[in-house]
Symmetry: C2
Subunit: 170 residues, 2 copies
């Protein structure tokens, strides 16, 4: 089981980035999403995607992130610009315990030093600045061996097509 | 050569998402970034990353997207929730012309129907709603066979490390 912990969420500034983080977590096979600041609008947006496109991850906002980290039984992975190389880190996680629940911490701009220390693995997706949204997608893609993108079943289903929009609504 | 065309950019609403799109394009090996709305702040942010972390893609904002598409000599790929499956599409692009310049269109929420028609390939990264930032990263990762993340050389260099921040400044 993979859970995502988003810390440093500021609803005014990061609203859309955090929404993208949560939707990527869901689409790429995470099971639980935890966000530090309470954000009812984010929960509603996310749950409405679950309602329409199929029940994926659960979301909880307003969690105490120090407690989540402190009580986590499993592996803690922290995505950062500063860390081990992605493929090496994924191999190391699986070698440590392939069955472990993995908590993936996705910070906003500033992440307290204690997060680096609490993490079993600080993982860098490339050594260039880019985006925590892309970093999370790449981590989950590699963790699930390229099979992360989930085919969930919901009321609305998008049919792959080069011709444009094909949506089936039941 | 891969160029990214961002259309439907609204500086007020999409500022950070478009910034993430541009930084992902740069970090994952695109050469040119074109954004429809003029946005000097975005250019400055982007160019400052090039200055500090190594010269990657160029950026141009305020481009006429219809003209860019109309004059493009090469393959046009459009990332969308509604399209061909990613791996199949990347294989088809390479089969069509492995040496072609590829214009990757990354839309914001609403994309005009003419974009779907103008594209040689409409490409869907999974069939679940998530993020154009993640979709672009995944497309470039697959296009470059998992070797997209560029090791650019700049004044500041991040050294991979599980111990936390290691930045070398020359």
């Amino acid at each position: 089981m993979i859970a995502i912990l988003r810390i440093g969420h500021r609803p005014d500034r990061d609203k859309r980035i955090t929404t993208h983080v949560c939707l990527v977590a869901r689409a790429f096979g995470a099971s639980r999403i935890l966000v530090d600041l309470a954000d009812r609008e984010l929960e509603n947006t996310f749950n409405s995607v679950n309602d329409r496109f199929g029940e994926g991850a659960s979301i909880e906002t307003g969690v105490k992130w120090r407690r989540v980290i402190g009580e986590w039984k499993g592996i803690i992975a922290h995505l950062t610009m500063y860390g081990m190389e992605l493929d090496e880190a994924v191999a190391a996680i699986k070698e440590k315990d392939i069955d472990a629940d993995v908590l993936v911490i996705v910070g906003a701009e500033k992440v307290p030093g204690e997060v680096y220390k609490a993490a079993d693995f600080n993982i860098s997706v490339g050594n260039q600045p880019h985006s925590e949204v892309a970093a999370l997608a790449m981590f989950l893609d590699r963790y699930f061996d390229g099979n992360a993108l989930k085919d969930l079943k919901g009321k609305m289903k998008i049919i792959p097509s080069n011709e444009g929009k094909v949506v089936v609504e039941e």
